[in-house]
Symmetry: C2
Subunit: 401 residues, 2 copies
């Protein structure tokens, strides 16, 4: 019998995808692996969900439900290291190279396998961004009915990247965190599996990114991994991968995991700085980094605990730092990501002195999503276009060369 | 000494990246491989440019210039086959999963290696779309000065996906094909290597897609490969891969290669239908498929010849068929591509009866670029959003469930 576990009270519960919260602590539940049998990486398999199957909560793998997620590039950022005089090896894990152009596909891919294996016919999510597009795409491919609940007033243009897959789009007026929790109650009622941000199978899917980094570095652990932090699922997944490897005796130490929030909405960075065990909900979020603008992160208190227990960090960066980092990644390394993803670089530059990186260290920035998702945010980009014609082109090129 | 070859007059010329056209025939030149020594795939290597190095024109590979292109997914489209009662196995080769979200990165990745190895410091391209973004990104990462020549009047929003990498953007008034040819003359003058659509190294880069398909199918040849057709470089590259394998004795037969144009600008489909050896330039292009709207394809006459010699096909599809195919790919398979990419599916549906696919056949559609590149084209998407609030959400879900 499959079980979920509460990391706070350590109680276990029979698997129920409709209610992924502890009835005692109200904290999110996580997948419970009963046995500690030997787990191995099967390098004969190409697909990550088969390659790392021993570490994942799936008994079977149906390739028809996969869109080819994962196996994303890990590239060195030498130009960046040079520009900022960083002694360590800086790398980008490019999660934009997933089927719907964001890291969310890794989580959706696992959750959808589970949904179909359980005979579920309706899925849903509460999101206006990457998670909406990812869930709608995988739902479409699996032939499931997909419900996307979004904030009222979301612009039609930002709906298109999910709307193209023709899910049922429902704009809901009212408090967003309340909508998030209410979705589970209604999902149970109508048989809709809401695979929201901290869904236990979604989180397990994010672990694969950690295993891939470990393998791509030649079975070595990076000194640090820096990633944007919203609800907490992505961070818990990636940290979970290294905790798994630690428990299995494969590694001796996990990386320093660094979650990054936007200053205009940083409940977890504030709590971390104050040494608090629980975060305080933010009443008014003000940041251009919408994808990490989460006033009440569902796994926030768990993140605070595991970050503290495992010597991680949570930092906040300003919108200006984020936009500058986005521009720098594109100009110096040819990587065009969402502002939210660039927050990882902004954080690296902010905390470099605190971390005292050494030459042999490697630091991985998780590039979570494509800059194409919100070109609108670039209106401020200082883009100079020279105008000329065929006759004068030679002169124009001469003046620029 | 490296050489380029004219496929028309069979003359060879000393390599000169600034002049990739035959002085006799005016046709584009291709990379000439002098020896027919044994070529092997090195599966111990992860990076495609190392894995298929024996088949590529690079003596060395500098990972610092790569953004992690290639290794893209090949996924079965069973829902689509079911929907349209296609007996064969239909697959999508997802080239959207490249660093700048299109197939162009494969070509740029090879051309940039060559540029740097030759000590070139300035590169350029004539493009307003995928090739502009790709060239600008790789140029930025390599620290080269990058010139992007574009049509006057290109909207700022469609410039952003290249502009973010901060190349020199030059809008040129005048005839576009003329600009294309003039760019080479000026490039030579100012030392700017214009890696345009049929650049010989770019074309060699596209071959890797062919090798990957062959490997992903378990070292088998698909019955057919269908892809959008503009200047002809992509098609010649992919066909070249299979011709290489045929020459090496690895396979006995190459796939049926099918190039797809938009009816509103289909010089090659017209010439193919008429059995002509040379195409006639289109005076007025009218199609929403801008990325394949090429009134004077640079490699057009060569494409006509190799397609004829190798039993390929060139077909034209209407804008309506293209947009319907784009919608279908998203709704049925969760794949959101550019309209131009969906032309491959539109063509499959159009010629299915002519090809008499059998159950054991596999047919690969090349999905060339991301739908996120021009969300504007989706304004006509029939997207229904239900409006409700937290109190009425239950009723809304009940009515939809």
């Amino acid at each position: 019998m499959e079980k979920l576990e509460c990391l706070s009270c350590k109680k276990q519960f029979r698997l129920d995808v409709f209610t992924p919260f502890c009835p005692v602590c109200q904290e999110p539940l996580f997948y419970y692996y009963p046995d500690d049998s030997k787990k191995t990486i099967d390098l004969n398999k190409d697909h990550p969900l088969e390659r790392y199957a021993d570490f994942l909560p799936l008994k079977t793998f149906d390739p028809r439900l996969s869109l080819g997620e994962g196996n994303t590039p890990l590239v060195k950022l030498e130009g960046l290291a040079r520009k900022f005089h960083l002694p360590a090896t800086i790398l980008a894990k490019n999660e934009m190279a997933n089927p719907t152009f964001s890291f969310k596909d890794r989580g959706t891919a696992v959750a959808i396998q589970k949904a179909v294996s359980l005979g579920i016919r309706k899925i849903g999510t509460v999101s206006t961004g990457n998670m909406a597009a990812s869930t709608a795409a995988y739902g479409a491919r699996a032939g499931l009915e997909t419900f996307v609940l979004l904030k009222e007033g979301t612009s039609p243009s930002s709906l298109l990247s999910a709307g193209i897959y023709q899910p049922r789009l429902i704009a809901v007026e009212g408090d967003y965190p309340q909508l998030y929790y209410q979705s589970f109650a209604l999902g149970r009622k109508f048989g809709i599996y809401f695979m929201n941000s901290i869904d236990p199978f979604r989180v397990e899917g994010y672990k694969v990114t950690g295993y891939e980094i470990f393998r791509q570095l030649g079975l070595r652990t990076p000194r640090a991994i820096i990633l944007p932090l919203s609800a907490g699922g992505h961070l818990l997944g990636i940290m979970g991968a290294f905790l798994d490897l630690l428990r299995a005796g494969t590694i001796n130490e996990i990386p320093v995991i660094i979650g990054v929030q936007a200053e205009g909405c940083s409940p977890l960075a504030r709590a971390f700085a104050a040494g608090a065990e629980r975060y305080e909900r933010i009443s008014k979020a003000r940041t251009i980094a919408h994808a990490i603008s989460n006033p009440a992160p569902a796994a926030g208190n768990i993140v605070l605990r595991v970050i503290r227990e495992n010597k991680g960090m949570i930092v906040a960066v300003s919108d200006e730092e984020i936009l500058a980092a986005q521009k720098t990644l594109a100009e110096v390394e040819g990587i065009f990501c969402q502002p939210e993803s660039a927050a990882a670089l902004a954080a690296l530059l902010k905390i470099r002195d605190a971390l005292l990186f050494k030459e042999e260290d490697s630091v991985v920035l998780i590039i979570t999503g494509s800059g194409l998702k919100n070109l609108g945010a670039l209106d401020s980009l200082n883009m100079t276009v020279q105008n000329t014609n065929l006759v004068n082109l030679e002169g124009t090129l001469r003046s620029l060369s």
